[in-house]
Symmetry: C2
Subunit: 323 residues, 2 copies
């Protein structure tokens, strides 16, 4: 167990799974030491409102207002709006709670008034008392799309409306090639106080790939000259939540730690895998990524803190954990 | 007491006061016999949402989902959205309940998709089970504005944010001169089954004048050749609710039935005044409008039905009620 952890830390993440580790790091590190670069490839416009699901999930989680049952949306949420919308013939497949709705209405209003997504996120976080810094991966729009037997689907159509049921043959990040990464990211990567880059156990293809698809981002992460530590989203060869394993199968990938390591090859120094997958360690090492075995399931706040601590210790003692 | 009332009926009205008489007529007449032409001069865009306060008040009232305490908004309303918006630094001076919000979000979405305000109102009313036909006065935007010591104020700034406190020196209906009246109105005015035109006890300058300011509207009403019956919003020389009397004073008008009759001169055949104002009858008659004295305060549903019945009898027996 280390003493005080110092320096600045960068976490790349998506929604629910990523938010769990973000919470562990946020609570473990001194206030303001953590910057979270959040996937916005899932963002979409719905009912005329601009919705940033991953950003809001991380923000609600760190602000301690997230619904603990679902991991997304707000605690003690009510659904009067949805019920009334249903009666008026509106679209109700994407559930927007009454409290949550304020985030989308106010974000949409501010974006229309000329504020950037980054500025809106920063102000919302300040008002909700979030100490860590949340950065949308880009202020430009990127839209993750999935190719299925019936054609390309928008992310939320696939993920929420169709419950990730369609078989996916390809994933695309529309607009990513022209979307400038959040400028605050480059400043942070040049900061000598930055200790490490952590990649959350989010879905690599749906949550991390949109970030890595931004121009210059992968090189900038590598060029920072600090440890890059990724956490596998698999436990015992299966996803804790969501379609990671299903998607890997459909994309013709090995559904194990090696399949994840192959995705992070050339970027991550370390891949954290669960005890349940320790047999995968040699295969990970064979891909020039150092495997680190620990408990990665995050059920409680203590689990989140423990994983955050393990990751920070890995960064501090890079190379200490044997494969 | 008359037997069955036949024919079609047109009501011109604004918000809360107008909605009360609309309800009386809606419940008194056979389903579908009533058309309500509603003021949209109070409409505005707030938080990026297109809000039609008078239309919604009438719709909620006829759908029996209105808040009986306030006369506007929805019954059993909750305010989670507002509370969350406040925390995010949003504007909360205009109160939008969680259920009510669905109306504004869905209307805004449909307008952006190219539907007309009339089409949206018709569909909402059908879904909420409103038998009467609600017509926005125009599908074009008209904005009531008030000149005060500090300059021109938008209607909701004056009415809600500043609680009608500023002294008003003039009222203007921006856009009214170019706003085509709802085309369904002309078809109705040409319908031989139309029995009468009723003008609700709404504020003449704030709720009825925007309607009458539309090109050709006043002539079309007169040209229909049927009784035009207006109800005074004053009782005992004071407004039941709202700034009618205050506004009349500020505009230099007589605050009595004659002041109201002067507004409707040349348009109304009959002005219905309350028993409390019966002494005003000769002054009304002197303006070539036949005064009709009855109880105009609408506290209960029975009051609403009784006034509706009185108005219908006046139309059926035009000239029967002595001045």
């Amino acid at each position: 167990m280390s003493a005080t952890i110092t320096g600045k830390w960068l976490l790349l993440c998506g929604g629910i799974g990523g938010a769990k580790l973000a919470l562990g790091l946020d609570r473990l590190l001194p206030p303001g030491a953590l910057t979270v670069l959040v996937n916005t490839g899932d963002d979409f416009t719905h009912l005329g409102l601009r919705i940033s699901p991953d950003l809001d999930t991380v923000m609600y989680t760190l602000a301690d207002v997230v619904d603990p049952e679902t991991g997304w949306g707000r605690r003690d949420e009510t659904w009067q709006f949805m019920e009334a919308l249903d009666r008026l013939g509106g679209e109700v497949w994407f559930r927007l709670g009454d409290r949550d709705l304020a985030t989308h209405v106010e974000r949409t209003r501010r974006l229309a008034a000329g504020e950037t997504p980054s500025a809106v996120a920063a102000d919302f976080c300040a008002r909700l008392g979030v100490a860590s810094r949340l950065l949308p991966m880009s202020d430009a729009a990127v839209a993750t799309r999935l190719r299925t037997a019936t054609g390309w689907l928008d992310f939320q159509d696939y993920f929420v409306r169709l419950r990730a049921a369609p078989v996916v043959s390809a994933v695309d990040y529309a607009g990513a090639g022209q979307a400038a990464p959040n400028p605050a990211l480059f400043a942070l990567l040049a900061d000598p106080e930055l200790s490490a880059i952590v990649i959350a156990p989010s879905n690599p293809w749906l949550s991390i790939a949109p970030i890595l698809a931004l121009p210059g981002l992968r090189d900038a992460l590598r060029g920072a000259g600090i440890p890059v530590i990724a956490i596998s989203p698999l436990i015992g060869g299966a996803a804790v939540k969501g379609p990671t394993a299903k998607l890997m199968t459909e994309l013709g990938l090995e559904v194990n730690s090696a399949g994840i390591a192959r995705f992070y090859r050339g970027l991550a120094d370390v891949l954290v895998i669960d005890h349940a997958d320790s047999a995968d360690a040699p295969a990970v090492a064979a891909l020039d990524i150092r495997p680190a075995v620990t408990a990665t399931l995050m059920r409680t706040l203590e689990d989140r803190l423990a994983l955050a601590r393990a990751v920070c210790e890995l960064a501090a003692c890079r190379g200490r954990v044997a494969s």
